[in-house]
C-alpha cells in the first residue's frame, strides 16, 4: 500500500516537473526567437500565464470525440513520460522501451488528431494529414538510428543505452557516431515541429492547423501535452546521444542546451513544403542513417 502511494506520488511529481520544465523551455524559446528577430519578446514565464488563463476561460466543444481526443492526447504523453529515464528518475525500468516510446507517442498524436478532426473543421484535417505525412518522413531515419544503436549495444532499453555510454564523455554517441547524432538532431527538429518542418501548423496558411478549433481548456491541455512532448523528445535525445545524466539537474541542463540549439537552428530556415520535407528526410537523414547502420552491422 505504501509502495502504491509512493508510486502515485512519484507519478504526479514527474508529471508536474516535466510540465513545468516544458513550459519553461517554451518560454525560453520564445525569448530566443524574439531576440534573433531583434524583438524584446515575452517574459520567460509567459507560457505559465497562458496555461492558467486558458484553463480559466470558457470553451466550446464539438461533441464527445472532441473531449476524448484532448484527454487521450494528454493521457498518452503522460503515460509515455513514465518510460523515459529523466536523469536518475525512471518509474519503470522496463526493458525494450525505446521502441515502445516511439509508439506510445503515437497514442497522443492519434488522440490529438482524432479530437481535432472530430471538430469538423477541414483546416484541422489538413493539418493532421500534413502532420502524419511528415511523421513518416522523420520517423524512418530515427527508427534506423534506433536500429543501429540497439544492434550496436545489444539492448533496447533507454536505460541500457544510456549506461553503455558511461565513463568518459568521449563514449557519448555524439562523439562516437557524430553523423548519427546530427541526423537525430534534424529528426528532433522535425519531431518538435520546429521551423523548416512546421507545415502542419502553418498559422498563416491553415489557421494553426490541428489546434484551429481548440480554445480554453482544450488549448490548455494541448499546450500541456506539447510541453511534455518536448521534454520526452529532448530526454530521448539526451539519453541516446549525450550519455544521459546522473541527476535531474545536469540532465535538465543538457536538455536545455539541445533545446536552445534546436530553437536557434529552427529559426534560421523558412518552411518546407510538406512533400519537400519528406523528400529531404528521405534523402539526407535517411541516407546517412542507413550508411551509418550498414557500417555498424557489418
Amino acid at each position: 500500500m505504501i509502495d502504491l502511494i509512493y508510486k502515485i506520488g512519484h507519478f504526479l511529481l514527474i508529471t508536474v516537473f516535466a510540465t513545468a520544465l516544458g513550459l519553461l523551455f517554451m518560454g525560453i524559446a520564445r525569448k530566443i526567437i524574439a531576440r534573433i528577430q531583434k524583438r524584446y519578446g515575452p517574459p520567460v514565464y509567459q507560457p505559465y500565464l497562458d496555461v492558467l488563463k486558458l484553463f480559466g476561460k470558457d470553451a466550446i466543444t464539438h461533441g464527445f470525440i472532441f473531449d476524448f481526443g484532448a484527454v487521450m492526447a494528454l493521457g498518452g504523453v503522460i503515460a509515455t513520460l513514465f518510460f523515459i529515464p529523466l536523469g536518475s528518475w525512471q518509474l519503470y525500468s522496463m526493458e525494450g522501451t525505446v521502441l515502445l516510446v516511439i509508439y506510445l507517442l503515437a497514442v497522443a498524436s492519434l488522440g490529438m488528431a482524432m479530437g481535432t478532426v472530430g471538430s469538423g473543421n477541414p483546416q484541422a484535417s489538413i493539418g493532421i494529414s500534413r502532420a502524419l505525412t511528415q511523421m513518416l518522413g522523420y520517423e524512418l531515419p530515427f527508427l534506423v538510428i534506433l536500429f543501429s544503436l540497439i544492434f550496436r549495444y545489444q539492448t533496447s532499453s533507454i536505460w541500457g543505452l544510456m549506461q553503455a555510454q558511461a565513463g568518459s564523455f568521449l563514449n557519448w554517441n555524439l562523439f562516437a557516431y557524430p553523423m548519427m547524432a546530427l541526423v537525430a538532431f534534424v529528426v528532433l527538429i522535425g519531431m518538435m515541429g520546429k521551423k523548416p518542418f512546421d507545415a502542419m501548423i502553418a498559422p498563416s496558411e491553415i489557421g494553426s492547423g490541428p489546434v484551429v478549433e481548440s480554445g480554453g481548456k482544450y488549448l490548455g491541455m494541448l499546450l500541456l501535452q506539447k510541453s511534455i512532448t518536448i521534454i520526452i523528445e529532448l530526454a530521448l535525445y539526451v539519453n541516446l546521444f549525450l550519455g544521459g545524466a546522473d541527476n535531474i539537474f545536469s540532465f535538465s541542463f543538457k536538455m536545455l542546451i539541445v533545446w536552445i540549439l534546436a530553437t536557434m537552428f529552427g529559426s534560421l530556415f523558412p518552411r518546407f513544403r510538406i512533400e519537400d520535407g519528406v523528400k529531404f528526410f528521405w534523402k539526407w537523414p535517411l541516407g546517412i542513417a542507413i550508411l551509418q547502420a550498414l557500417y555498424i552491422i557489418i
Binding site: 504526479l12 522496463m94 540497439i150 480554453g216
Partner: protein, 621 residues
Amino acid sequence: MLTKYIFVPAAAAFAAYILNKKNKKAGATITALVSAYLLLSLALIYGSWELNQSFNLSLMGYQLEFLMALTPLSWLFAVLTSAISLLIAVFSIDSQADFKFSSVFNLNFLLVIGSIMGVLFARDFLTLFIFWELMTWTSFYLISSGKKKMAGRAAYRYLILSAAAAYSFLMAVIFIFQQTGSFAFEPAAEFLLNNSAPQSILLLLAISLPFWVKAGIFPLHVWVKDAHGNAPKEFSPFLSGMLLKVGFYGLIVVFHQLSFFKIIENTIAYRGLPLLSYLFALLGAVTIITGTILAIRQEDMKKLIAYSSISQMGYIIIGIAIATPLGFSGSMLHLMNHLIFKSTIFLALAAVIYRTGTTKMYEVGGLIFRMPLTFAAYLTAIIALAGIPPTNGFISKWVIYQALIEKGYLFLALAAFFGSIASFMYVFKPLSTVFLGQLKPQHQEIKEVPLLMKIPMLILIGVIVLFGVFPGIQMNIISQISGDLGIETVNYSLYSIQGAFGAWNSLYIFNVFAAGFVIALLVFGLAKKSKLVGLLDTYSSGEYVTDAESYHYAYQYYRPFDRLFDNLAAKSLTGFYETLTANLLKSGESFRRIFAAGRVQNYALYSVLLFVILAAVGWII
C-alpha cells in the same frame, strides 16, 4: 474423427441453401450454429495431437490414400476459421436482405469453411489439392457475388492466378508421386531431402506457388485489392482475415514439414540466413512498401483496407522466412492479431456500408455521432493495426522488430518501420473521413446497426484488448506449434514476452496507461465545463459556411504524399500485368490473323499440310 469438420459444414451448406429459400435468416443462422459447433468440438480436441485418420480409395487400379491429422498448427488455424466465421455469420444474419442470392452465399460460405478445414487437416498432397481447389472455387463464387460491376472481373483475376498456381502445384506433386509412389507428406519430405538440392528447391517453389498467391505476396498480390474491394461486405472480413492466412498455413507446411528450410540450410547465406529465405523476406519487405503506398492513395474504404492487408502480410512472411524463434512467434502472433483486427475493421466498414450503401470515403462523414459503437470498434482495431500499445497489434510487431534487429536485417527492418509508421496514415484516413468530420445531410437519420451486428464487433473489441494485455494466451499455442515444427520457443508468461533485447510486459504498460489517462481526465474534469456547439459552427477564416458537403476534407487526403509516388503508382504492377496481357492478346490476334482468318479453305489447307507432314514422316521412318 477429423472428417466431421469437413462434412458437417458441407452437409449444413445444402441444408442452409434449402432452408434459406423459406426464411432469409435461416442460412446465416445455420452458418453461425455450425461454426459454433466446430469451435466447441475443436476446443474439446485441443492437445490430442496424435489424432489422425486415413482412408483408402481404389480408383481404376490405383490405391489412393487420403491422410488427415491434427497438428497444433492446423488446430490453431481451424479454431481461427470457425471463430471468425461464427462472428461473421452472426453479423450477417441481419444483412441477408442485401444479397441478391443469399442462399447461395450461405451455401458457398459453409463450403469454404469446410474446405478450409480439409486443407488444414490434410496430410497428403491429393487431399490438400482437392480441398484447396474447392476453397478457391467456392471463394471465387463468393467474391463474384459482390454487388459491384467489377466483382466478376476481380473474382476472375483471383481465379486465374489461383488456377495457374494450382497447375504448377499439381505438376510438382505428380513429379514427386512418380518418384516416391505416394502422395503423403512424409515420404515426399524424405525424397526431397535426399534429392539434388536445386531440383528439390524448384519442386517446392512450384508447390508453394498457390500459397504465395493466396497470401498475396508482392508479385502476386494483384488480385487482393479488387477481390477485397468488390466482395460482398460480409465476406471481406473472412477473405482478408482467414483466406489470406490459409496461404501462410501452406507456406509453413512447405517450409517446415516439407523441409524446405532444411534443404536450403547449406546454401549461400547472408547474415546466417540462406539467400533464398532472405529473398522471401525481401519480397515481404517489398509487399509492405507497395501495399502501404497504394493503401494511402485509395479513396475506397474497402480497397484501402485491402491494401493494408497486403502490407500486413509482408510482416508475416518476413517473420516466417527468417524463421528465428522470435521471428516465427512474431509472425504467428501477427497472423492471429491481423485476423482479429482486420476482421473488426471490415465488420465496422460493413456496418457503415450497410447503413449508407457506399464504399467511397468522401461520400460519408461524421458517422461517429450516429454509429458510436461502430466507431469504437474501428478505432480499437486501427489502434491495433497501427501497432500502438496497449493493443495486440503492437506486441506482434514488437516481436518482429526484435527478431529483425537481433539479426541486423537493416532493409527488412526499414520496410517494417516504414509500413508501421505509414499505417498511421492510411488507417487515419477512413477514421477521419468516414467517422469524423462533417455529417452529411443525407445521413442525418442514420441509426446504429442492429444488435446482432453489434455483438460481433463488441466481442472483437474485447478480444483485441484481451490479447493486448495477455499475449501469453496466444503464445501458449504458438509455443506448441514451434515445438511441433522444431523451432525453439520463446520465453513468455501470461502477460510478458521475452525478446532479444528486453522483455515486453503488458501489465506495466496497461497500468501506466491507466494512470496517464486518469491524470488527463482529472485535468479535464477539474477545468470549467464547456459548451456544445454544432459541427458547422467552426472557425472558417471568415468564410460563411452553409453546407456540410463542401466543408468536409476527405478527397485525396494525402495529396502531397501521393505526389511523391505518382510516378511509381502509374507504373503499378497491375498495370504491368495488364500491359503484358494486352500485348499477349495483340500478338495472339496477329497470329490468328495469319492462321485463322475465317477462311475455311485455309483451315483445310492446314489440315492437309498436317497430313502431308505426318505421311512424309511416316514414309521416311
